[in-house]
């Protein structure tokens, strides 16, 4: 492939070899290490580049709950499709939401049956559609952590400023810290450290992770999204462990400021407030873990505009997404993995997004490492 600046530097195989050797040196013989990468973007990088080939057998990566598509409960997908079925509605959504199943249909299925759900790349695109279609009601399916919440909030502010009254958002934004806390409190999990989310931290900064080191004694290193970033992060966690330290460190300082982005936080705070509780797929109800639109912006809030059924749909019995999201089960250990639940016919959300642990494992890693490495040895 053609060399590309700002990308290839972070994918250099020679540097990876050198880091891998240092990682191996730091591992105490006989000790097993389990690190959780919180963010789905990291899961994707790990599988896409085959990063696990560089890790010693004693290091296991556990895939965390940071895939925004994966944590949306089925009832909310049903509600979104309900909105899309109302007269004159154009629903808009990020691409990887399109194949997430509700209790019955996905957005793609709903479209085949007559709804108008369009893929957009940013909430501003949705606002543009609203301006182009003044006789339609345009709703943006807002999902994601603090990473995407500022752009949703900005779009609401712009709609208010420009008086685009046929635009609203269906707010499903969630917050990362309560989810990490829920995982740390789950009794069946043993972790040695965290590969901290990178994009979220550009907004919230590194301070909110302090409780993880103080109360739970786990080191956390905020990591970038290129494969060398992640290898270096694993190295940094191992250095902390070997020196008996337990701190929040920032590997991704080229992008993440220690204090986060105060303006972005301000914009979120202007438009949204914490919900008392919110249901997470597989993890259940977590208090103060999601955002809703403030009263002042009620006219842009699809939840208030449309009379939502809001029916809670229990996760399918066979689905073990919760255990996978908490890192208790490896994707392949789920009862339905790869047989009833595949990327073609996903039962659980982890199988839908390419960032979902199950989809990543199924698409990229679905073979014992030894066999794959055997085949690619030239």
């Amino acid at each position: 492939m053609t060399r590309m600046r700002f990308v290839d530097e972070y994918r250099d195989a020679d540097k990876a070899q050198a880091l891998a050797a240092r990682i191996a040196e730091l591992c105490e013989p006989g000790r097993q290490y389990k690190f959780m990468e919180v963010c789905g973007g990291h899961t994707h990088t790990i599988y896409k580049h085959g990063l696990e080939d560089y890790l010693p057998e004693s290091v296991t990566l556990v895939h965390g709950p940071g895939c925004p598509v994966c944590v949306i409960p089925m009832g909310r997908v049903d509600d979104a499709i309900y909105i899309a079925r109302q007269p004159d509605v154009i629903m808009t959504s990020f691409g990887d939401m399109m194949r997430v199943p509700g209790s019955g249909d996905t957005f793609f299925d709903a479209n085949a049956a007559g709804t108008n759900i369009r893929m957009v790349y940013s909430p501003l695109d949705a606002l543009k559609i609203a301006k182009q279609n003044p006789d339609k009601r345009v709703v943006f399916m807002a999902i994601g952590f603090e990473t995407t919440a500022p752009s949703t909030a900005m779009t609401v502010l712009r709609a208010a400023k420009e008086g685009v009254e046929n635009f609203s958002i269906f707010c499903n934004h969630v917050t990362i810290i309560p989810a990490i806390k829920a995982i740390l409190d789950s009794p069946d999990l043993r972790l040695d450290g965290f590969i901290g989310p990178g994009h979220v931290s550009t907004v919230i900064g590194c301070r909110p992770y302090d409780f993880i080191t103080r109360q739970y004694d786990k080191p956390l290193v905020v990591a970038g999204f290129e494969p060398l970033d992640i290898l270096q992060t694993i190295y940094m966690i191992l250095v902390q462990l070997s020196e008996g330290r337990c701190e929040v460190e920032n590997q991704y300082s080229r992008v993440v400021p220690w204090d986060g982005n105060l303006r972005a936080l301000g914009v979120i705070n202007e438009v949204m407030e914490l919900r008392p509780y919110f249901e997470w797929r597989g993890l259940g109800f977590i208090s103060h873990s999601a955002l809703k639109v403030r009263e002042e912006y009620a006219r842009f809030d699809a939840e208030r505009i449309f009379d939502l059924p809001g029916v809670r749909v229990a996760d399918p019995k066979a689905c073990q997404c919760g255990e996978v999201l908490k890192g208790v089960l490896k994707p392949w250990e789920c009862k339905v993995f790869g047989t009833a639940c595949t990327p073609e016919t996903p039962i659980g959300t982890c199988m839908v997004s390419p960032e979902g642990a199950c989809a990543a494992y199924y698409n990229f890693g679905r073979f014992t490492r030894t066999r794959v490495m055997e085949a690619t040895r030239s």
């Binding site: 492939m1 053609t2 590309m4 990308v7 994918r11 195989a13 990876a16 070899q17 973007g41 994707h44 896409k48 580049h49 085959g50 990063l51 696990e52 080939d53 560089y54 925004p68 598509v69 691409g95 990887d96 939401m97 399109m98 194949r99 793609f108 299925d109 479209n111 085949a112 049956a113 893929m119 790349y121 695109d125 994601g144 995407t148 994009h199 060398l228 490896k330 392949w332 250990e333 993995f337 790869g338 047989t339 595949t342 990327p343 073609e344 390419p354 960032e355 199924y362 698409n363 990229f364 890693g365 679905r366 073979f367 014992t368 066999r371 794959v372 490495m373 055997e374 085949a375 690619t376």
Partner: protein, 360 residues
Amino acid sequence: MTSVDDRERQVLERIDKARRRRAKIKDERITLAHGAGGKATHTLIEAVFLEAFRNPLLEPLEDQAVLSLGGPRLAFTTDSFVVHPLFFPGGDIGELAVNGTVNDLAMSGARPRYLSSGFIVEEGLPTEDLVRIAESMARAAEAAGVQIVTGDTKVVERGKADGCYINTAGVGVISHDLTLGASRARPGDVVLVSGPIGDHGITIMLARGELDIEADLTSDTAPLADLVDRLLAAAPGVRCLRDATRGGVATVLNEVARASDVAVVLDERAVPVRTEVRGASEILGIDPLYVACEGRFIAVVAPEDADAALDALRTHPQGTEAAVIGQVKADPPSLVLLKTEFGGTRIVDVLVGDPLPRIC
């Protein structure tokens, strides 16, 4: 007690078995995924069309059927074109409709000869646009050495076709006696690509104007029969040719791996991808291996002919950037593997539908 490795192996074997089962279509309605060239398309073709039409000529599911009517062998194929927008940098729907069918014929090593063309035109399309499309088809036909000898026109109500849809069918004559096919790859064979991948797909995505990304990029649409002629003359050890259209190189190579029950091992560093295509793919979170080309093919070639094949491609103006991108191995069967530029390994599976952009 069984070890973790053993349990994982058992699970993976169960999945492998499930994947080999006969395709069954479970969806209640047709969705866009069924047209994207990935798993959903395969399921639809196998469960609906192959089930209904089953015969030995259709069964290999090649890009074209090879027929014998007494004289020389004939290649016969059809393809429909629904691209939006109708005009894009480097081409238009008309040129695509000629080259697409010409290339499906060329992949059997046939000399394309005659095409048909069916138009489904939406009420309201500017006549000027239709004239432009027809003229473009005429130019493309001349360049490819084919004649458009029969056709059909239908006009449908406004809103029922996206400006204009075109179907073309084509016939070509096979004058060599090689047998090419996706099931003929053997361990040890070498995999080549005729040029940089993904230009067409990314050009179209950008031309739709939804992304606010601009790049100096044009579609790679081109007739490939000439290049194929050159290749087959220089390297009779060619086992299989496939143009990497819908679903891209990844999908095509998966078809080869499955039909031949072999592993295809790719080297990411060797795959030619233009910087613009890589850049746009990085931004969108999609993989160029799945992006459509309209003027590139992959060739699986016996090892002793690999050098001659590469040389034949590179000395033709359409193949100057051709490259060896991988190898065929015996194990693990039916899979495409990638040695990443980072130095790791992973599977390259067929996607369900279109590659979906990731949110963050």
